[in-house]
């Protein structure tokens, strides 16, 4: 198999064009899937026998929480690739991941709080899952702060990459916090390959919503990557030509 197309993707002009082309293919299907899953979640799926209608927030909460971890992993992997193979584009991808990642984390925390109030009687509990998710937010904020404190973008890239990789050790702790500590937060309920412990009628909208979130993040990442390339390559000739 010919891998030239793959290597070409690492060059900013190709990546820029690729991200611009890919974006609508991710964005519009994602938005329509969100609409369908949102409709199904609110009107089609039956209420929970105990939590009644309040549980419906999982259709936002679970995808947001999954994405918060997934985006950090993508960011760290991209940072590692950038650090090891000195690939500038990988650093640009990592830089484009921080903002959406931290927004997903905030969304997971806020929807969790909204859900926690009627169910647990408190907006916040010092439960391992909640606390580790908050630490994840701090990791994102630290990453942003470190990146912002360098003037030179190359040094900022590499320093932030080291931090992202060191922070990666916290990801399994967050993911398995509900398994390791028996806590207030419920355990693993959704499973793509095995049997989920929630009602089958709820699984489909939830999985579709998850996929929609992933694709939405992909579209946002394309935007972020284009913005990063615009900033990093602002003196490059191909870009001036492209923009004119």
């Amino acid at each position: 198999m010919n891998w030239v197309w793959f290597h070409k993707l690492a060059s900013p002009p190709t990546a820029y064009a690729f991200a611009r082309t890919l974006r609508p293919w991710l964005l519009w299907p994602s938005l329509s899937m969100m609409l369908w899953a949102g409709y199904a979640a609110l009107f089609v799926v039956p209420p929970d026998y105990q939590q009644l209608d309040a549980y419906r927030i999982i259709f936002v909460h679970v995808p947001a929480a999954s994405l918060s971890l997934m985006v950090y992993s993508i960011m760290a992997i991209a940072a590692g690739i950038g650090l090891i193979w000195r690939m500038k584009l990988a650093h640009a991808v990592a830089a484009a991941c921080v903002l959406p990642g931290s927004v997903f984390t905030v969304l997971a925390l806020v929807t969790g709080a909204i859900w926690g109030k009627p169910m647990w009687g408190a907006w916040w509990a010092w439960d391992p899952r909640l606390t580790t998710e908050l630490i994840l937010l701090f990791l994102y904020l630290g990453y942003m702060a470190l990146r912002a404190s360098f003037d030179d973008i190359g040094r900022a890239d590499r320093a932030a990459a080291v931090l992202a990789l060191v922070g990666l050790v916290n990801i399994p702790i967050i993911k398995y916090s509900v398994v390791w500590w028996n806590s207030l937060h419920q355990g693993k309920t959704l499973s793509i390959w095995g049997k989920s412990s929630i009602d089958p009628s709820m699984v489909m909208p939830l999985l579709v919503m998850l996929l929609a979130f992933v694709m939405f993040f992909g579209a946002i990442l394309c935007d972020g990557l284009c913005a990063q390339i615009l900033r990093r390559e602002r003196h490059a000739q191909w870009l001036t030509k492209q923009v004119q």
């Binding site: 650090l83 701090f138 990791l139 630290g142 404190s149 040094r155 320093a159 080291v162 060191v166």
Partner: protein, 231 residues
């Protein structure tokens, strides 16, 4: 680090760096004392802020000790690499072609011996002021020794990342504290279990495992960060 053309064995390098740092510390012993004093001062704040009742303090003593140890290690770690970067030593280390992670590990071990270890030794005495019986000194020294060593490694990574920056203090705290939280969780848990007479091997093993992981992988992160800071 080659003296008159011949290279030194890694262990000699390690010992040389350690000896240099210890000697520098003896000449400026006030800097060794500062984290210790800071540790005691932070602990003094809690009885003032919460309650002077020993029964109440005993309940939260482990948490107080760990938070104070974390803050002391954070403040001490800030100056770990800066003097060497400013006077050019770090640049020479990078240029020697010797394994930089190994040299930085020696530096970190020296740092722990000077700032972490004295704190560990003092902790059982300080803890009695919080209502913890002195009988627990063995456990306290063991958990705090493992924990502060790990804090030194993580702090060294943070110090290496922020070494070239003008205002690194606050930034370093922001980077390092989230990473240090697992240490706090398992360290406080081990100490708590021990004070209640439970088996401590679980959290203690996790703490030791994390320390080993940190000792093996941490120096590489430090080296990568120092290389960014030096250029």
């Amino acid at each position: 680090m080659s003296v008159s053309g011949h290279t030194l064995s890694p262990f000699t390098q390690f010992a040389l760096i350690l000896r240099r740092d210890l000697r520098l510390a003896v000449r400026r012993w006030d800097q060794v004392l500062q984290p210790l004093v800071f540790f005691v001062v932070v602990i003094t704040l809690f009885p003032l802020a919460i309650s002077p009742e020993l029964s109440e303090l005993r309940r939260i003593a482990t948490g107080i000790l760990w938070v104070a140890a974390m803050l002391a290690s954070l403040l001490a770690g800030e100056a770990l690499f800066r003097p060497d970067l400013e006077d050019g030593v770090m640049e020479q280390w990078v240029l020697t072609g010797q394994p930089l992670p190994w040299l930085l590990l020696a530096k970190t071990v020296g740092h722990w011996l000077l700032t972490g270890f004295p704190l560990v030794l003092v902790a059982p005495w300080v803890a009695t002021a919080l209502g913890v019986e002195f009988d627990h000194w063995r456990l306290m020294i063991l958990t705090l020794a493992l924990g502060t060593a790990l804090l030194s490694v993580l702090g060294a990574i943070g110090a290496a990342l922020t070494v070239g920056l003008r205002r690194g203090n606050m930034l370093m705290a922001m980077l390092v504290l989230p990473l240090e939280m697992p240490v706090l969780i398992f360290g406080a848990k081990a100490l708590d279990f021990g004070l209640q007479g439970d088996v401590v091997t679980g959290p203690l093993s996790v703490l030791a495992a994390m320390l080993l992981l940190g000792l093996v992988l941490g120096p590489f992160a430090m080296a990568a960060a120092i290389r960014i800071g030096v250029e």
